[in-house]
Symmetry: C2
């Protein structure tokens, strides 16, 4: 489809971590209207059941497509991608891309040994969605839940060299030591670490410093943005008249607009502007 | 009211942290039937708005009173006590006790200087419910949000002497250093630290080791249990025939029964048994 109107791309997360995916999308496709929805009233999805997550995610997807006119949906939430991608694809009629498959594909491209480590939230790990996506690409994946990393990011204890980031570095050291010991016990020889949570890109400098030599850090958010740009370029490319238009971003949250506005810009790398409150029920 | 049937006491929390309050209640009133509801599908309340929390808490209170026959309600959740006690009291016709006022009263009884420190979740601190309850008792309270402590407890990094508890001890040291520096800057001379979150009793040994000399640690969960026992003794005392009966505990959760069962016993100090899933909608 070719027109002068920039495409509307819906980006969905349970919270605002998915703004790291939006940030990566904007870097690749600045000429677009982005509608971002954070279902903050019902986060974290990570501790909820598949049935509940599927219902919440489908309601959120319908809002972005039916109310906001999204022509393409990026599920910028590992938990929803892991547990509810089918439910979302059933709920709306536009193309839907999650973060798991792109993350696994990027790991496949980067790994020489075929063994990869994945860190993520509890729910993502328990779904074993990364292990399944990796297995489909002939990779062996070892997954580990790191439940302390999201609150450490949200507390802002992330800037290398500060005393508080020393705590975060120690937490990362403990998690990675447990993970690499388990990998060794299984006879794996991992050369890739996949960041399977949209909060983790903010920890990238600390993680890069902590991974064993020879292990590359792969960010699912970046991988998903690259995959989305590739697909959207082929489907929704705007006409030449529109190429000069600026990026338009509109953010919605189902609750806690204040926290979204306060922390969101750290994830997006620019101001999130005025976040609009939307009631999806529940 | 005097009868041979043990009273039914409803205990409500957004999650399972309130099991520390239930534990304290059982220590004081073993002859009772306890119905505990953790609204795990919608936790954490801490990041949600007052309106949303009030609606969730009222629905949960109605379940305990109307469906489970609770004759007395203990709101074992600091956030719900801070933001929704009025809404709960309007929703049901039985006596309702929160954790904030008993915590403040215990601080009043323990403090000689009249200056107290309070640590709690973000939402509890933002509500300033402890500051208000303390002020009503002629205490000056300085509150601090400590968002990392709940996930550290849930990760189990709490046993003194282990490497992982070293991280928790360091997080506590940072939080308390910030809090006591702020107190000093305000000219306060605190001699009490109130634990304003039901997860924090599990950190008591680490907290006791970290507080400045001369500061006593007060647990709101214990204080609320004592207050409830005092009120219930006067209202619902069972007849002599019933005093030999054992404690009956029935636990409900709105989601994540597995996590509740896995972690709950650590909070309750005994098995939580088979947790029943209940759907409150939303």
């Amino acid at each position: 489809m070719t027109n002068a109107v920039p495409p509307t791309i819906g980006v969905f997360d349970s919270g605002f971590g998915g703004l790291t995916v939006l940030r990566a999308l904007i870097e690749r496709m600045s000429h677009a209207r982005y509608a971002f929805l954070g279902d903050t009233a019902r986060l974290p999805y990570g501790s909820k059941s598949r049935r509940t997550i599927a219902r919440y995610a489908a309601e959120s997807a319908r809002f972005l497509v039916h109310d906001q006119g999204a022509e393409f949906l990026v599920i910028a939430c590992n938990t929803a991608s892991a547990l509810a991608l089918d439910a979302i694809q059933e709920a709306v009629s536009v193309p839907v891309l999650g973060v798991i498959e792109p993350g696994a594909a990027a790991a496949r491209a980067a790994s020489l040994t075929g063994d990869v480590l994945v860190i993520a939230t509890d729910a993502t790990v328990h779904s074993h969605a990364y292990a399944a996506a990796c297995r489909a690409l002939d990779l062996r994946a070892l997954e580990k839940a790191c439940p302390l990393l999201v609150p450490l990011v949200e507390e802002g204890w992330i800037d290398p060299g500060t005393p508080t980031s020393g705590v975060t570095a120690e937490v990362i050291r403990i998690y990675l030591a447990e993970l690499t010991a388990e990998a060794a016990a299984l006879g794996l020889n991992p050369d890739v670490l996949v960041l399977g949570c949209t909060h983790y890109p903010l920890l990238r400098p600390l993680l890069e410093a902590a991974v064993p030599a020879g292990v590359r850090v792969i960010d699912s958010a970046q991988a998903a943005a690259e995959a989305a740009a590739h697909i959207i370029d082929g489907r929704l490319s705007p006409g030449p008249a529109a190429t000069a238009a600026a990026t338009e971003i509109i953010c919605f949250a189902t609750d806690s607009v204040e926290k979204f506005e306060r922390l969101g810009s750290r994830f997006l790398g620019r101001s999130v502007g005025k976040v609009q409150l939307v009631d999806l029920g529940g």
